[in-house]
């Protein structure tokens, strides 16, 4: 099994300067590894820091100790210490992240939103369009909506657009923050199929799944983040 990600001795705290410099310790000593084809479920109660940890892996949040090594084009990149342009390269080619919320520019069509990461990845426009249309159709977004901005869509539709965008590019490593929340049973099954297909291709997946049935169906192991949580004295 080839190793795709290695988290070593990660610690994190938040310092709130606007609130008299209050320090909120969050984690210490997180260690984990992820191999190609793994689908690891991040578990822990609400507020345990699952999304925070995921954002740390994506270098969206700063880590104060430790290293997060990600295999990027046969090299190891430390997401904690890498330069911004290296991190952007890792995000373009290696590390995908499907957040809970879709953040888009007003006026940009749904099709363009889904095609954008493929264009950045370097996929030709025609091919990207075919793939985007296929994914949107598969996720039950009616073609009549493809030319509209997703900002006007319902929550579930927006989430499916977000998933189409995330799965359009075949990243070797994917972070999924509650990809099936707010979806009905039919669409949930489609998303679980997409995740299974990615896993079968050898994608290493770290996900947050509140739905126990979904978790049992697709995950190869669980990682309980609450054991690394530092109790706040405040």
């Amino acid at each position: 099994m080839s190793e795709m990600m290695r988290v070593e001795n990660i610690a994190k705290s938040f310092t709130l300067h606007v609130q008299q410099g209050a320090v909120i310790p969050v984690f210490k000593n997180i260690n984990m590894t992820m191999n190609a084809g793994d689908c690891i479920a991040l578990t822990g109660a609400s507020g345990a820091g699952k999304s925070t940890f995921m954002r740390m892996v994506y270098a969206n949040y700063v880590c104060h100790e430790g290293n997060i090594f990600v295999r990027h084009l046969n090299d190891w990149v430390d997401m904690v210490h890498a330069e911004p342009h290296t991190i952007l390269n890792v995000r373009r080619h290696t590390l995908g992240y499907v957040s809970q919320f879709l953040r888009v520019i007003p006026r940009v069509s749904t099709l363009d939103v889904v095609m954008e990461p493929m264009k950045i990845f370097g996929i030709a426009a025609e091919e990207a369009q075919v793939k985007a249309e296929g994914l949107l159709a598969r996720l039950n977004i009616p073609p009549a909506l493809w030319s509209l901005s997703p900002l006007t869509f319902s929550g579930g539709e927006q989430q499916r657009v977000n998933i189409a965008r995330g799965f359009a590019t075949e990243y070797p490593i994917m972070l999924l923050d509650e990809p099936t929340a707010s979806l009905d049973a039919e669409n949930k099954a489609i998303v679980l199929d997409l995740i299974t297909e990615a896993k079968d291709r050898g994608t290493a997946i770290l996900g947050i799944f509140h739905d126990a049935a979904a978790r049992d169906a697709i995950c190869t192991s669980e990682f309980d983040i609450s054991q690394y949580r530092v109790a706040s004295d405040a």
Binding site: L16, H17, R55, N60, Y61, V62, H85, I105
Partner: protein, 259 residues
């Protein structure tokens, strides 16, 4: 030049206005295709820094090296004045907050675009006019407005014309000072969408000054937060906005009004 080499290397730039500090100890690298946002409140030194790195304001200290098309790295203030001027109208572009500062208000829209082309040696009238028309189309200005002067345009149209005038000569590095500043929200969204598309399609490197964090998030890959003339925090745009470390960055982010 390999993609790993920075296009612009800025080291320890300082600008002093007499005893006052414009900016100090600013260093950064800008890579090809990268958009760097500079944020901070009025008076934090953003525009001073932008003017210094874009060759318009001689810094009191520090160096600015630019990787030219000929793959030699040159210090921009050690160039001769004509060399620097040539660079500024060919390889570089500057989009001002107020379109009146970047346009000739008395000549037609087509001539505003054509002038940049003539500056780089174009002489064929038909080609110049054709290219100007195609750029008007790219910035969503109808071609029947080509012979009108910008003074008859709305603010948003003027700003789009200024962008066309700047990009027509195929620059590699674009400096922008609050490009969406004076525009109303709907016009701003349209301009942002347009700018983002052009930056990606043309693989431009951009240094953009803005006080609007939403604009910074949409356009820039990397952010520098300035306060009192110094860079207090820099990093990936989403990291600086979602997990700011410096007290001033936290104050800035927490001051955004929710719509």
């Amino acid at each position: 030049m390999t993609p790993q080499d920075p296009l612009l290397t800025v080291r320890d730039i300082a600008v002093h206005y007499g005893d006052r500090v414009g900016c100090e100890q600013v260093s950064f690298d800008l890579f090809p295709g990268e958009v760097l946002g500079i944020v901070g409140e009025s008076g934090s030194g953003k525009s001073t820094l932008l003017n210094a790195v874009s060759g318009q304001l001689l810094p009191s200290a520090g160096s600015i090296h630019y990787n030219t098309r000929l793959s030699d790295v040159r210090e921009i203030y050690e160039m001769s004045e004509p060399e620097r001027r040539f660079l500024m109208r060919t390889d570089w572009a500057f989009v001002h907050q107020n379109p009146r500062d970047g346009l000739r208000m008395g000549v037609s829209a087509g001539a505003n675009i054509g002038e940049r082309l003539m500056g780089v040696g174009w002489r064929h009238y038909g080609e110049i006019r054709g290219t100007a028309a195609s750029w008007l189309g790219k910035v969503e200005i109808a071609d029947d407005r080509m012979d009108d002067t910008p003074s008859t345009f709305s603010g948003g149209m003027q700003q789009r014309l200024q962008i066309a005038r700047n990009l027509v000569s195929g620059p590699r590095l674009v400096f922008m000072d609050e490009p969406t500043g004076g525009l109303d929200v709907s016009v701003q969204a349209r301009l942002l969408d347009l700018l983002r598309g052009l930056v990606a399609d043309l693989n431009l490197s951009v240094v953009i000054v803005t006080h609007d964090l939403a604009v910074a998030r949409l356009l820039s890959h990397r952010l520098m937060v300035m306060q009192g003339g110094r860079v207090v925090e820099s990093g990936l745009t989403d990291q600086v906005l979602d997990d700011p470390q410096h007290p001033y960055s936290q104050l800035l982010v927490s001051s955004i009004l929710q719509v």
